[in-house]
Every structure is written in structure tokens, then in C-alpha cells.
Amino acid sequence: MIQKNTQIAIIGAGPIGAVSALTLAQAGTPVVLIDKGGPLNKVVTDFDRRAYALSLSSIQYLKSLGIWDQVSQFAQPIEKIWVVEEGSKTPLTFDHAELGKDPLGAIVESQHLLRTLHNQLAETKNIEWLQHTSVQDVTQDELFATVTGEEVEVKASLVICADGRFSKLREKTQLKTRAWSYGQTAIVCPLIHEKPHNGWAFELFTPHGPFAILPMQDTSQGQHTSSLVWSVPPAYAEMLLSLDEKTFSQTLQDKFGEGLGHLQLNGKRWSYPLSGVLMEKFFEGRMVFAGDATCGIHPVAGQGLNLGLQGVGSLCQSLIGALDVGMDPGRPEILEQYHVQHRPRVLAMSGGTHGIVKIFESPLNYIRESAGLGLGVVQKIPPLKRLFMRVAMGLQGSRPSVMGQLPPR
């Protein structure tokens, strides 16, 4: 059994764990990163085709970590968002020009972000990356947490747990977590279409769930592509997944119309049951949770990773500040700073996305519709619309300085 000592250990080398490691290491704090898998170092075709919507705030964070230039080669900027309720003629549109010159955000396939992060991890000093190491247990005493793997034992003052929405580490604590199902399955797949998307993202709200087409970069052959995220009841999802490619494409075409010209499925269809998770308190003793482990939300607004990165920013800011004055980074009054800063964001985003999803399927929807309280109303109230945009771009609220400056506007 190999023994290691470190001030900070991080479990999970997904985007949240990797960004935590890079932020701390770049500030001069050595970390031990533990992950059950290895590095993602080449483009793979059968990788999970989920894409992340990165807000302007998240993009600035990646810039300050020095990796945006690489990620941006695979990222499609979002210039406009077009939202409409099924059957309605008045869309709600968000145009980046209403707030400034920067795009609203960018869409990048998860594998490209992860590959860039992993390359950077390998090149950054102060990071010791224990690969193919499954965590079997984490135990704690007054001063240390000990992470046990098959062949290694890591003793740390603090363990950052970034093991995702279905966090096993969370189950090792007494921390209260609420979990719920949305009774929906998201179907995700790449599309090719006839006309260029011009950086537009489309979202159609239906009583069964939201239907979104997100702009992706053109292929090297110049084909226009987008990514579909369609949330539907599980039985419907099963039916959609069983359709042959041609019929599936035709179903999409019927649903979406001719806005992008001829639509065609361009690869495997992936599906994910949609659930929500919310932790009441983000730490217990010397285990602190980050990312989807603390809060998993519905993808309707594409904010899951952005929310997680804001949390990482707050956590790392508290830790770097604490280490700078010789504090033990695992002390509750240090972790409390992260909790106090991030908890309101989590509540707002979890509650907000939940509300958006539920309102369209609730019985009250009929009343809302007949009263004409549609999305079109927001369109007519510019300050409310700008607030929506600011929240989606990650511009609202306090910004930890480790996330870098926002561009001047």
C-alpha cells in the first residue's frame, strides 16, 4: 500500500474535479487528483455526445486557466437564442447584441472540453494524478481525511468530492440530499441540416418537455451541424429510440419545421433519464462536495456545468485565501465561506429550472395560457428579459476572482 500525504485531495477528474485541480495548482497549491479512469487524449467517435453550453462567465474562467484557446477550436458561439411555446406565434428571443459584443455563450461537445482539461492536467506542476484508482473508502478524524484505493492511501486535510450527480461519496456522509425524477428522458444526438444556423439556438417548449437544437461547428466537409436535446416521457423516448434513422429524422422535421432546411440524424442516439439532486449542506467534516454532487438540475437552460464552475470558483477562492494565511483548508469556517456563497446560486438555479420545466406540464398551464401569460410576455418587458440573459450568461451576482475578469462592456 502506497501512502501519500497532501493538503488537498480531489476525487473525480471530470470537468469539475479537473478545473478545481487546475485552479488550485496554478495558485501554487499542490493537489492529488484521484480518478477511476485514465486521461482522455484522443478524439473518439463513440464518446457520449452530450454537449455543454458554456456561459460567458465559464468561458472567462477557462480563459483565465489558459485553456480557452484550445477549447474554442471546437466550440460554437451562441449569438441568439430563440424560444417558443409549441403552437404559439410569439417567440422570445435573446440576442447577444442587447447586452454587448460578446456571444451569449458557446456550445462544446463534452469530450473536447474534457480532453483539453486532461492535457492541461498532465502538463501542470503541483498536480499528482492517480489514474485508474477506484476509491474504496474515505474515513475522517479530527484533523485528516483518508482516501483509500486498492493500492494507495491518501491522507489529506481536505477532500474535494467531485464524483457527480450519483455521488457514492455523498452516501458516506450524513448530509441530507433531496433527489427527484423529472419523469422525462433526454434524447441527445448530432444532426446535419441544410441551412447554416448562424449561431442560433432553438428551444421549443411542449407539454411533454423541452425540445432544443443547439448550434455546433460545421464539419470539416462544410456540413452544418447542431445537437438535439429532446426531453420526453420515458415511454415516448423508447419509441423514438426504436425508430429507424429516416423515420426519426422525419419526426424531428415535423416537430421543428423548415427553419434549418432538411434535418438529418448524424450518428448514434443517446438517452439519459432526467433527475434532480440537491444537497442541503455542501460539507461534512473534511469532505466537501462540488459540481453535480451538490446540485444536479434539468438541462432545460443548459446551466449545469456553469453552476458547478461558479461553485468551484467560490470553493477555490476560499481555499486559496485560507492557505495564504496558513489556515487548515479543511476547517469548517473556511468551507462555510464556500457554502454561504454558493448555496443561494444553487437554490435559485435549481428552483428556476424546476419551475420552467414544471409550469409547462402543470394543470395550471391551461390557466396561464388562457390568461395570455406566455413567454411572449417576457419579450415585452426588456428589464426582465435582460435579467434572464444576465443569469444565463453568468453575469448576475458576485464573481470569485479566481474565475478571471469579465470582459469590459
Partner: protein, 246 residues
Amino acid sequence: MENPTSLNPQEIPFYDAHKDDWWAEKGPFQELHRMNPARIAYTKACLERENLGVNGGKKPLEGLRGLDIGCGGGIATEPLARLGAMMTGLDTSGEACQAAKAHAQKQNLEIQYHQGTIEKFAKDVTSPFDFVVAFEVLEHVSDLSLFCQGVSEVLKPNGVFVFSTLNRTSTSYLGAKILGEYLFRLLPVGTHNWSQFLKPSEVRNSLKSSGITLKSIEGFRPNPLTKKWYTGGSNAINYLGYGVKE
């Protein structure tokens, strides 16, 4: 007649009784932990201003000898040691010293802990200190002149004395006693005796007659929402300050 002493003997049983609570998450000393990052940051800044060995990097206090008077369980002693200072902790509660020793040992921190008063300790000191800190201590001292005399004796010439304490104002009566102890129970009832709180002028005078010049006073206050403590603003309740030995 007894020898004069800076010690208030009535207070020791309280600290002896809480020997296991120094590092508890929700113990009687939680507020001291919350104050701690700002107190250490202030100490670092003062030492830097007086050109005492702050050289950036991970161990900015390397090469400095420091004394923490009223160290309790070592709440401020440990971070100063982690920043590279060779630290000694001094407390009148023997149980606190024992707890501090055990806590430092488990982390391989090299810190000396002694039980006793500063005036007695000063008699035994052979090599003087570059800096002395006394956080939330002055308001518990029964003879401030004697205390300051002791601090001066253990400091090198140009050595720095950093302290934090409570001001004796109507605001502090309301804030620290009524709200802090009785209403919000941030501190155990009876932690403080308001009449022993010190106006900055009183601290200045006691330090001056011991050969230490007060250089600066800063307000010190918590953000009620985040519970984080900040330096700056009004010094009507808590304040930090430092002086330099002539």
C-alpha cells in the same frame, strides 16, 4: 501581599473546562476561528510594513521567532507556524496548553507551548522574539501595564506587537455583550466583562509607558450574512492594532 499579576484567576476554570472544545465546529470558540484568517492576514501585513522577513512564497515568516500570548488551543499559533515562524504559545490555562500541544503534534507542527503569565515568562526568556501577538486577550488581563511591560521585555528592538481586542463603548456593550452573548449566543454568556474592555487610548498609553509605540488601529467586524471577519471600518466594538518596540 500577593505579587502583582496580569492574570485574572477567575477566568481560568472556564478555559480549563473547555479544553476539548478548542477545535470543535460549533464550540464556544467558533467565532475565534472565524476571526482567524483576518487576524493572521493583518499580522502578515504589519510585519511586512515593518520590514520583518516577509518574503512572499509559501513560508513568508520563515526565520522569525514569534510568541502568541493567550494562545488557548493554538488557534492563531498554528497558522503562524505554518507560515514559517518559529512559534511559542503561552497561556495561563494548563489544560489549554495540553490541548494545543496534542493538536500541533498530530500535524507535525513544531510549536513550543508554556503555561504561565507573560510577566513570569519574560523573566525566563533568553532570546527575544521578532514579534508577539495577543488576540482577544487584553480585555481579559487584570493589570494591563504589567502585561505590556512583559511584552516589551520579550521583544527585540524594532519587534512588532500585534493585538486584537474590544473597545469600551456603548456600541460594544450592546453589540458584544447583549447581542453577542445573550441574544445571538455567538459567545458563551459571561465570556466578557464589559468594564474591562479597552479604549484604544488606554492601550496606547500602557504600551507607550512600556516602550512600545502604537502604530495603527483598525476596526474589525464580521459580515453578518457570510460570518466572515474583515479589517477596516469602525473600531467601536472589535479592533486590531500593532505597535513597535523602540
